[in-house]
Symmetry: D2
Subunit: 387 residues, 4 copies
């Protein structure tokens, strides 16, 4: 069984998460193909070299074009800022490399379609980084839905609540600039909820949304430093060009009703990626802050003991868990990436597309964009208008 | 201090709740005016007599017109089905009686305005039955908001989830018929969320909604029996003419964003009347199924111990609680009515309008109707279009 | 069906709770005998008259002997401080009155036995006030145990945690004085846990305990004012003569292991009367601060959805709940007394002893005293040493 | 900065956890000494070779004596079954190797003392594997206690509840055999609670306990396979020679009261390692099943918003967390080992003993043994009787 030789573009938050997953995979899932950490790539020579050494990559590159040209690389992992995804992906596809791209796939629906078509034309494997699908609790939710154990779905209620920019002195980092990030809460975290909804409920039919930027301008940061930068209220300021919060209503093709919200202005919520599904035979609740738990309710439980069950999804009966620790010994955020990479390696071995792949990225982008259109035009927008 | 002599129309679910409140008030709040339970009124002589005896009313009437004519009655309590509210209220006002009317105030915004004008013209006291405001936890939420302790409100997220009609064999009771109930989940339970939002966040500016009736027809009930009837799938069937679920997005005049949902199709939720508010300095969460609790988060708590506090609102520092039991000794649903009647008696004694009153009923009706219009016309509707 | 004419001794916290129960019973449980609130008795004429008027009793007495002599009284309700229980109960029995006595039944095991024997000899009905049994959630726990749904019980873990005297300036109220209260946390709140254990698991076999008085002396109160008095650190002080906390281990006759703790020094716990039971087929958890909930776990649930269910015990399938409100509409502390009085009235009608009765009070007293003996003698004490 | 060259004895559950920690350390904590995974050792050549390849060790050994003789090894990591700890540790000390030994340190107090003395005499670093101390939430608890933020501690209540042997068909694995495991729930999981109590409250003064073996004999396993083996009720059976559950009461030297329980018979509890501490100024609650959370209560919070705070211990202000992911992105069980190894590497670099070390292992053993003595002799046992 050959290894899969990885070249990765990006070395910040997601670069660290992916590196950790590549390192963990062979130890916990020795039966799948082994990712070989060939090269890490970033523009700043010192930064990328430090990341190389720390994360355990064999070599470093400062130009992603060089990375793609290397013939000892099978797969390009793209976790650079969102505005760089498309160009790299197209080049990688042209070079016949498999592609693992972080979400959002691109800054526009059109771009994402172009990326999908390029990958399909090239005949390479392509995956998009909706890691939250890979929490065992979410896999259990999927299983319950698929097996009909909660019946026909009537409601999906999804929230992604954060609070890292509530303080108006928080600086204007790249995630708050439209030209780099594409959008704010909507594309960054709302995208995860949209993907979760598609995974569990199916395709969207039509949407209508609203959004707001509560803090209109912020101090310019001295340097781009991800999520944890500290601001200075006396510093020069620039306009925030993305949404702080976006909410929308939706109808799914199945007839289910959806309500989805993404905000970075919810104090006390560090990372509440949560959903509830109501079906004709039961309900399911999930909150990522308690990633090892799924709450499940069945209408056919005995009359006197009906209630939401708090299922600790750490048993061997839960996806991926027999690879880790005994029941009750919890896992965390980073494990969703290990499971994601597991799927990627398995798909390559089985010569099939991984799930979720660029087609899922495209559908997510369609919903993101339909919501934006609905906000600009203040009307319901059908997904068919984009496709 | 004179007693307030009550005549009540209606003797089912709400009639029982109000009766209990009138009975409890003098024992737990002896310092306010005493409601005198003069007469209970209903169309069925046997039913109303049984209720009279059980609930402890002095006399019974079978025609509300007689009740209003009696000169030993100071206040008319209207908790008959919604389609009867207006006619009774207008007559009561004309007779110079104070009015305590259950929500929804009327079947239309126009009717509710007419009721408010009649009451104002008659110079009587008028109150509308938004009892959930009177949970001590909700009063605490109001206090925190009013004192600026959670800062400027950016988000209001309100849900009222029930599950009593998920079973398609549940019969076609009056609450599922538009001509009697006005609307379904929207007016019945969504109205409570709308009132909560107005109480805590202020007036709505514009709304857009969607709704659905998941089960289109149901067995006809042999008799009208409230919430707990059992159905028969082989019985003759009739169409459900109200919504099973209604969701809407909103902007408040303050600029806050709102998301509100009412559904009777959420298995596992017997009575989840819940909300979350996010402000610039903190957050508040409430769920009526845990009526004695409020969750509160403050951004200015010490860095290492920030977290939602589960406040048990049973301390003497919490509204109404020194009248009941020692800290930690909980109260329940019915107590919200006792507190509501407390406000009613106090307002009469102080010769001021109780809060919430018909003006609040009107505003709630305006939002309900704007949402309905937004659904029919598939567009954002400004509240100014109705006013 | 004759009414039961009540004479009640005591008018503070418990007097209020009992009065409320007598008032509520006929409205919510009209099918049982009606308690007639004949006379309330207390030593302070003004205080008792105020209570009479507020709580709705027909008459007031200032000497319990007069009360017992009255021939228009069928039942004596004793909720005076614990040191008065015995004398009143013996006199009531001698006069042929039924007796409803608050817990702890007496200040000693011997006294409680004397009380039981007197009641038995007199042939009257006798009940002891372990009201927490009457939470519907606790009744559900009992049902699950009785029906074998959690199998053989291996563990009982009971806690009653309060925090009302953590502040050392809290004054030396009667509940902190051994000669009046008998004991501190042990007899006041530990007694409830012991009764719960007996109700659910069965009789105790042997025990060993420890106790502590963390604050040795406190300011003398200007007047005895129950649980909510405020202290003055400069006031004259007196010694606390009861335990602030008592813990013990136990073996039940069934072989189950028990761990029981009562403390008034647990900040954040206003009234955490909680237990967990582990059986061979499942587990049960209860916390009185969430009186409408029972958590239940079954080992035979499907492998992938095993978890504690949060059962909201407000459905018609739960004890007493069809008399109150629709599902999800919660009840509180006071309702446990209404249910308790329901059992009392029902037992009188059916000419049987109510449950729990003086025999239960005696058994509880035996355990309390065995624990005290085990603390003094620093050894395991078998219940058989007392009986 | 030299690496620390590790030789590890044991390759099952703990061997995997330690290996993962050694692998993760340099990536997430690059500033400390790097553990070099030199050799893994186990008796079964095939098993150990598979573990070597999977976990990423350079070489494998089948005799621990060889391992200790190797001069390219600085530190011996002992996570073989408990009965092997002493001999290996003594040999490692004699060879001048640092020692990292899993808990329980030994099968007896005397043995543990001998191990400590040997390590001290050899002048090597020694650490004992109480990994739960290293949850950031537990470190926060320690910080709050140390800084006096919850005042004087009055109560410690610790539970370790599991359910993996409730089924009587579960086989007689080594953990159920006294000669290998030393004890059952008591030494295996109770030891963790004892260490937690010592860490947070201080030394024990006296104890009294009880224990039980609910299932007296079990099917013999075909092979020893850790926690997840499946049994056969028709197989030959052998006696269970350890406790299924052990409970004890304790007094700490500080005067605080303790209640500690360890059981493997609590259905629904996969790994509930929990404690609550009540101090004069606040309380702290922890449950390992929610390892990223600590609940904290302060008596000096404003009157109307007192309540337990659910602190998500994933902020940069929480121990170790700035090395991992942004706030709200949780960690799991395995991270406690990474932090533990971080302390080990740091202590070696700083030429000081790591904490917890063999002295902590000895004290834990003393408490375990005092409890056992108290059970056998049915009396309170002072720790001074052992020391």
């Amino acid at each position: 069984m050959d290894n899969v030789r990885i070249g990765m573009v990006g070395y910040k938050f997601m670069g660290k998460a992916h590196s950790n997953a590549y390192r963990a995979l062979p130890m916990f899932f020795p039966q799948v193909k082994r990712p070989e950490m060939k090269a890490i790539c970033g523009r700043d020579p010192q930064g990328v070299e430090q990341a190389r050494a720390q994360f355990g990559w064999e070599s470093a590159e400062t130009d992603w074009r060089n990375l793609i040209e290397r013939d000892d690389i099978d797969l390009i992992d793209i976790n650079a800022p969102s505005d760089a995804h498309k160009e790299i992906a197209l080049a990688a596809a042209a070079a016949g490399k498999h592609i693992f791209c972080e979400k959002p796939l691109a800054l526009s629906y059109a771009d994402s379609v172009e990326m999908l078509q390029a990958a399909e034309k090239a005949g390479v494997k392509h995956m998009v980084g909706f890691n939250y699908r890979f929490a065992p609790a979410v896999h259990l939710a999927k299983k319950l839905v698929s097996e009909g154990r909660i019946g026909t779905i009537n409601h999906f209620r999804g929230l992604f609540l954060q609070d890292w920019i509530v303080d108006p002195s928080f600086p204007l980092v790249w995630r708050l600039q439209k030209e780099i990030a594409g959008s704010g809460a909507h594309g960054d975290i709302g995208a995860h909820v949209i993907d979760m909804a598609r995974f569990l409920v199916g395709e969207f039919d039509e949407v209508i949304g609203m959004s707001e930027t509560f803090v209109k301008d912020r101090p310019l940061p001295s340097s781009m430093t991800g999520l944890s930068a500290k601001g200075d209220m006396n510093a020069p300021r620039g306009p925030v060009t993305v949404d702080d919060a976006t909410l929308f209503l939706a109808r799914f093709k199945s007839g289910a009703l959806g309500s989805i919200e993404a905000t970075r202005f919810a104090p006390g919520h560090r990372c509440t990626n949560s959903f509830e599904i109501n079906g004709s035979k039961g309900s399911i609740k999930f909150d990522f802050e308690r990633v090892n738990e799924l709450e499940v309710y069945f209408t056919d439980d005995a009359d006197d003991v009906q209630g939401f069950r708090r299922v600790l999804t750490t048993d061997p009966s839960h996806a991926y868990m027999d690879a880790w620790w005994p029941p009750g010994h919890t896992i965390g955020y980073e494990h969703t990436f290990t499971h994601e990479v597991h799927e990627l390696m398995l798909a390559i071995a089985e010569d099939r597309q991984p799930v979720p792949n660029f087609a899922d990225g495209v559908q997510c982008q369609a919903v993101l964009e339909a919501v934006e259109m609905s906000i600009q035009e203040r009307r319901w927008v059908s997904l068919s208008e984009l496709r």
